[in-house]
Point group: C2
Chain length 323, copies 2
């Protein structure tokens, strides 16, 4: 099956599921859940789950419930993150927090998290391992969000700390999506490990690409305003690598820039430093490293090469914006 | 075994578990969890779980992990409820919200909820039914909290709505604690139903007792200031029953009282109405009804009467404050 067909079937299932269910009381609890789940997002995680499953089996709809649990978990994390980050926009629309307020965001998020387990339950009879993968991942995602918040107030964040944080906050759920698809498809342990690591590496490459785009892309290329990370003093790879490579006078300069008013002059001043230190190339190099590692993981999976076509396309699509 | 011995063993297990675990990073995520779990609360729910298990089996420590999951879930709900209710005190100490702030309360609560499933996982291989009971209950507790919040802004709350709300918010978790203990003890389905309903009825009786105490107890008897529900216009059974029985002029009077300044005069004026309408007796009557129903449930459980001694004591202890 082509990716677009799989996506269409998956979207149809998700739309149907959230339209048919959650129409019971209390409406104030379930309306936010329907609001966010019925938005047509990219559905990357459930798609990865289904594509991994599809390496081994063709009856993809039998894995839709598990894929849905993963998408629901991802959206639970967005609902609570938007409260914690005070974020009023999500996918260009009002966030659940903006639309339904603090209390409903907390409680709807909670019930979403519980429903993930409801969706997984039917799979656990034959595949109890899924519970462990899912729960471990959910814990790690919470840890990643906590590290991200902590880093805002930490002076000396190392590059390894940063990579560990984005791994927990973003990559592990991609890895788990693929691994759960593989478990449902009866993949062997070696394949499961490669599927998981494929997701981890894609996730790291994707986040590094996002850091790069935020600093160097044209607004048309990026789809939103460029320079936001610099303006908000976000401790991205570019920033942390600059601090690592800078001499004392460059460090002073960086420190001065972080205190400049939030405008284009600040962005340009920081880009100048990034150029001096060559961190753009370092960022791309590391991104390429993870991208190549992901392709190696994919190559090592023990199924017919033709079957891997869709996952190869996904990897390219996610990372196509820079080379 | 005597209740006090069981309680001591259980407490020791819980203290050990939360002291040994959760010492890893990020500390800001796990410190609030340890803070609340290491407080010596009443541990009613895990105790009920173990007492139900103990009807059938003596190796009580084999059920401690599941009992712990229930206690962790209860505390998760307290952490998030205290955010939603803006509550700074819990068990006479600063709440997690007061001590660690909004974001850490949300995220620590989330990870607590996930860890409940981690704790239940080892039991699911042999007893998959536990997942369904736990998850259904967790959903209902969220619904109960939402109804409670909604009722604050609802004009016409009926008595049935109120009883349904306290059932969801409080009783179902007591019922589930007992049922999970029973499942682990290999109880038959009829016993499981009676255990569950014992918890439901105890919970309803307990909440009605709490409503009564808040209005009529002496401060020494209640352990805190009396009249809080009246001062805050809480839609308790007493209030709702009064609205049901009141004639038009009494309704006007109640409405005037709800707008009085928050002091003793307000409390006394409302108590006068309660007296006129005889709702104190109605409250006690309903409480007794649930208490008796609970004892009937206990009686119907198919184990030696002597074994039921501890659960009988618990029912009496929970409800002893008024007769």
């Amino acid at each position: 099956m082509e990716i677009s067909e799989i996506q269409a079937e998956l979207e149809q299932y998700i739309q149907y599921y959230y339209q048919q269910n959650f129409n019971n009381r209390p409406q104030s609890l379930y309306e936010p859940l329907q609001y966010i789940m019925l938005q047509k997002g990219k559905r990357i995680r459930p798609l990865l789950c289904i594509l991994a499953f599809n390496l081994y089996r063709d009856d993809i709809s039998s894995a839709f419930g598990a894929a849905n649990a993963i998408e629901l978990f991802h959206n639970f994390s967005l609902v609570h993150d938007d409260v914690m980050d005070d974020a009023f926009l999500r996918r260009g629309k009002p966030s659940v927090f903006a639309k339904y307020g603090l209390n409903n965001s907390i409680l709807s998020g909670d019930v979403m998290l519980v429903y993930c387990y409801q969706l997984l339950a039917p799979y656990l009879v034959n595949k109890p391992a899924i519970l462990q993968v899912f729960t471990k991942t959910a814990i790690e995602v919470c840890e990643g969000q906590q590290f991200d918040m902590d880093f805002e107030e930490t002076e000396n964040v190392g590059i390894d700390d940063y990579l560990q944080m984005i791994k927990l906050k973003t990559s592990v759920l991609l890895g788990a999506s693929l691994k759960i698809g593989g478990i449902l498809g009866n993949a062997n342990n070696k394949d499961l490990e490669n599927l998981y690591n494929f997701g981890i590496n894609i996730g790291l490459a994707f986040q590094l690409m996002d850091d790069w785009l935020d600093a160097f892309a044209s607004p048309e290329m990026f789809g939103k305003a460029v320079g936001g990370d610099i303006i908000n003093n976000k401790k991205t790879f570019l920033h942390l690598k600059s601090m690592e490579l800078a001499n004392d006078s460059q460090k002073d300069k960086i420190s001065q820039i972080t205190q400049m008013p939030k405008d284009n002059k600040k962005v340009n001043a920081m880009l100048e430093i990034y150029k001096e230190l060559g961190v753009e190339e370092e960022n791309k190099k590391l991104m390429r490293k993870y991208h190549l590692a992901a392709l190696e993981n994919l190559k090592a999976i023990n199924v017919d090469e033709k079957k891997k076509h869709n996952l190869t396309i996904i990897a390219e699509t996610l990372l196509k914006r820079i080379k």
